[in-house]
Symmetry: C2
Subunit: 731 residues, 2 copies
Amino acid sequence: MSYPLFWFAPISALIALFFAWRFYAGMIKQHPGNERMVEIASYVSDGARAYLKQQYKAVLIVFTVLFLVFALLALVFKLMNVWSPLAFITGGFFSGLAGFFGMKTATAAASRTAEAARHSLDQGLRVAFRSGAVMGLSVVGLGLLAISMGFFILSSIYPISGPDGPDNLLIVTTTLLLYGMGASLQALFARVGGGIYTKAADVGADLVGKVENSIPEDDPRNPATIADNVGDFVGDVAGMGADLFESYCGSILATATLGVAAFLGMPDLQVKAAVAPMLVAGLGALLSVLGVFLVRVKSGADQKALLHSLDRGINTSALLVAIGSLGMLYVIGLPNVLGIWGAVVTGLVVGIIIGKATEYYTSHAHRPTQKIAEAGATGPATVIISGIGTGMISTTIPVIVVAAGIMISFYSASGFDSTNVAMGLYGIGFAAVGMLSTLGITLATDAYGPIADNAGGNAEMSELPPEVRERTDALDALGNTTAAIGKGFAIGSAALTALALLASYMEQLKAALLEAGDMLVFPDLREIMPADASYWDFIDFFQIDLLNPTVLVGIFIGSLMAFLFCGLTMNAVGRAAGEMVAEVRRQFKEKPGILSGTEKPDYARCVAISTVGAQREMKLPAILAVAVPVIMGILFGPAGVVGLLAGALGSGFVLAVFMANAGGAWDNAKKYVEEGNLGGKNSTAHKATVIGDTVGDPFKDTSGPSLNILIKLMSMVSIAMAGITISCQVL
Amino acid sequence: MSYPLFWFAPISALIALFFAWRFYAGMIKQHPGNERMVEIASYVSDGARAYLKQQYKAVLIVFTVLFLVFALLALVFKLMNVWSPLAFITGGFFSGLAGFFGMKTATAAASRTAEAARHSLDQGLRVAFRSGAVMGLSVVGLGLLAISMGFFILSSIYPISGPDGPDNLLIVTTTLLLYGMGASLQALFARVGGGIYTKAADVGADLVGKVENSIPEDDPRNPATIADNVGDFVGDVAGMGADLFESYCGSILATATLGVAAFLGMPDLQVKAAVAPMLVAGLGALLSVLGVFLVRVKSGADQKALLHSLDRGINTSALLVAIGSLGMLYVIGLPNVLGIWGAVVTGLVVGIIIGKATEYYTSHAHRPTQKIAEAGATGPATVIISGIGTGMISTTIPVIVVAAGIMISFYSASGFDSTNVAMGLYGIGFAAVGMLSTLGITLATDAYGPIADNAGGNAEMSELPPEVRERTDALDALGNTTAAIGKGFAIGSAALTALALLASYMEQLKAALLEAGDMLVFPDLREIMPADASYWDFIDFFQIDLLNPTVLVGIFIGSLMAFLFCGLTMNAVGRAAGEMVAEVRRQFKEKPGILSGTEKPDYARCVAISTVGAQREMKLPAILAVAVPVIMGILFGPAGVVGLLAGALGSGFVLAVFMANAGGAWDNAKKYVEEGNLGGKNSTAHKATVIGDTVGDPFKDTSGPSLNILIKLMSMVSIAMAGITISCQVL
């Protein structure tokens, strides 16, 4: 490696992984609780294992098929770099590995958190949060390690110094983007399949348990209750983790590619520009570890102190990254250090503001959610109308903040020169990298939530003393707040990452042109397009402007994709939950002893039903997400593809924020009533807000988060298929 | 006028208006019913008059202010043609006039339809449908008359033959576009204000009447029932009429402008190309009249025969337009007659397919709506989830059909030459004109619905024999089907019109450049841009490509606008309905005799409350729709504006279809249960679907249709502000 500072990235990644291991080992040493607690925990971990096994089986088949297709494209048709299929597989593998670590930790941590909560609130927090940190640091460590080692290996195969350096560097970075494609596909399974799984189990358990048989939440007599507990991990640990693994890797890789374009004609700077996002990410990984250590409360702390300690950890990490990245960029020695640094800081700030806005619109400490609860006085219809109205309005701040972030990072990095598009886009990429740089700790707060939630479930089912449940409830309530913020953060980072990917699509077209074999049927593209073609050349040639009807059609189809994907996943939850309802009814009917507590329900069967249902239901949306960009590329060429991505990004981002916030607000409107407001439990308002909450479940946990995957996956597919697009355009 | 064939357009318009008058006179001659019926009718017409008076008052203020602003821009700053302010006022005036005629006819027709239905079903249909045709033919006649006379007058002021002919023609057509801006602003009040009015009254009347006091729909004891009946006219006659008036005029004017661009350098053909859309529209107006005469059924006809006769009228008109427009285009003598004709036919076919798809997804004769009703077995939450899922999926066909229509009309008109963008865009314009050419009869079927609905209300309140109510119910059921189809048609035509307007924005920039005074601060734009600048020159200069961050930010903000507008109007209905609920409760409490039938409720006060509420609630969305394009233009220039329009169009179109179809499906799911399926009235499924229907009310009648206005109005505002945009860009 001609650039020694590079090694900072893989070393930081290893340090992050070391601490992930230490936190895991520390958690495992904790007491797992009494016999009943261990038994309950084993049901959940068995269920989680069964789900993961089934998912990885499906993943294996799809990856094998796509690997063969890519190998064919690479080796026979030369429409892809020969290393691309390998990068693709690696990305999928590492994302799956991070998910596996996270799940293994989370399932082991639940009973230990409950046990720790028997002693004190702060011990419970410590176990739960550090277990969450295992997920966060695994994602960051594995992601960054694989990217940096991939870069090292590929740049040994394609020497990035010497006369072919610039071309080789373009090949290396664009080939590595396929690593992101693998992560993206894995995320599709984890997030969409997981989202359907968790809500099918949740809605199914509630409908037969709470509504039909009036047994409480987390009651061990309910056969679906273990599936519901597994679902929390499947959706919010593995799903969220894979989603952010993809954003993390995608943003680093896209920015590396954009860096190569930004310093065209300056080979030394190109290498530095490609490595710079990895170095900033490495710095963020280290500072995230530091942040995790800052999350601790005194014995006997209250709810407010808990939230404060989480905030301290995250904010300190963010502040230190903001300061440290200036030094880092200075040491790297790129021109316009302050401008690029401005982009990094912009990304950090955008992430924080989105989090605050999400909290404002979804927490029942604020007026919007309270108003939704108040609409319950006139029944469920007005709760739904009010939630949808408020959810739609709540998209304003996130969209404006992201839009402002795009402009500021663009202008900052381009030195306020709007014609310096390449540098400006590099800045947008860095905004995404900056936003995600503290992922090690922000993801820890996300993964912490379901651990605390499950600890409560474990305490309930193990019939621990009420003060334990009170403590786990306090931990869980904190988890609900952080989960809502985490969702906003995940959407915002997905939008910025997708934008960076969209920009790097141009580079991928260039690379494809550089490498494509004789299959290239597009009229003499290589002769028209010089190897150092600028953005403008590409835009002119492919007519990627807003009066080209293929671009407009692309925007329409892209918007459609967001709504269609959402609609399909909404209906999927309905169908899969229906099967769960039928199964639970069957068990209650065939084994009447279950309800009286004398017979044991068949938990595993419910887990299996949710698993099979999720796998089946995700097929159609998954196929659409992969096939539509390919079809658009073949029919309409790059103009249609870019239109598609822009349309899906615009609609999908706003739709995702709407779904997540409406769902979160309905959830908390119900909690607001349950806390004794507006008549409290069993009032008209309560019944109305319970219906709102049920509607909100697939909004916030299935369809909304699935859109994050859609907008990134379609970009990744387009990038993978760039070679085909430029050689097979029909119209 | 140098082109005699031109006169066909105004003459056709006059013929359409003549038949509108004849149908009106024929209806007025009918017996208005007994004393009670006339009394009820007078309440409704008083209410409608009160609403319109209030609305026109607000409209007058806004138009006066904007007229002065435009006059300032035109006369002092020379950023607009001097005749533009006048064209703007004229458009608003004629749209208002058409709405006034339609409302006057509809309110008079309701009791006469009820009276006619005492004799037979076919007499009822005849009275109701021909009254609806008054609205359809008024819109078409007034719209086309004003456009063609405006063209005649302006082309006398700016001679369109001679050496300055081409420049003058550009000025004439772009100035006329401001006529569309006036129509658009009038539509904003009629459609958004009307949409809030009608659902505030409807939801308010239902919540206190049906739910709290168990009195049936249309019961004269309910003080809000007259407001509810007025609302049907306000929303579905005046609102729908103004919406389609705007689409009709906008599509003709945009296509005329695009025609001037398509034949740059061929002055004779330019004139013909500008007039051609008016001639095709004129042909459609005549054939619509013919179609109206075909709508008749034999005495004793059933529901199916009714629908069949409506279909016959519409389909015959469409078929004759398809045939006749080929001859018309041949006589006009433009090159590529078959290609342009292909675009016209494409538009007609797109309109028909969207209508069929809408029917499939919203009629309870088909599976999607039945499934939503079946979800009622597990309560309201699953009805809502299923309706939202199905509504989102139902966007697929309309979006794909419109996308295909765009491609086909573009390629057809451009002679399959993708570089001939100007001709292709002219083709897209013609697709919109073709789709709207039979508006005279399609709008008649829309306006017929609320007349039949109100006839039923009148029969109920006047206690006519049950067989009369049965007949008006049959007419009303037919009206529900046509209303759903009409909504799909309105959205589809709005999308195509907005697209044509987006394309003509470039021409407006050119015209602004041609006319702008010395205020032009943009660096020497006129020297860089030749008068005959092509699309490419503009796109290059203004960077209207998809990697320009301002375009991407525009797309984000555009998507946001669609959701924000929707959310604001949803919440507006909630608030205004709340006031209605309070008022009805107050009347019941203060005058206990109302419920026992001994005291008369104060209908007028309820009308006033809905009116004031609607006017107040529409302020913020209206200001946003007008201000955002202006701000985007000033901040980001044409690139930001085009991005904004494309983003709003993409998201807004799909969102509008989703809202309209979900709302329609919920409505019919309830009717499906009420017809005795799934347990019938008062079953769990019924209660659940009633909640779905209430949620759907603002979806389909307020927020969804409002999006049609948003996407067109923002285009129109951008067009009006083109002069400012090119001279004041900040970034």
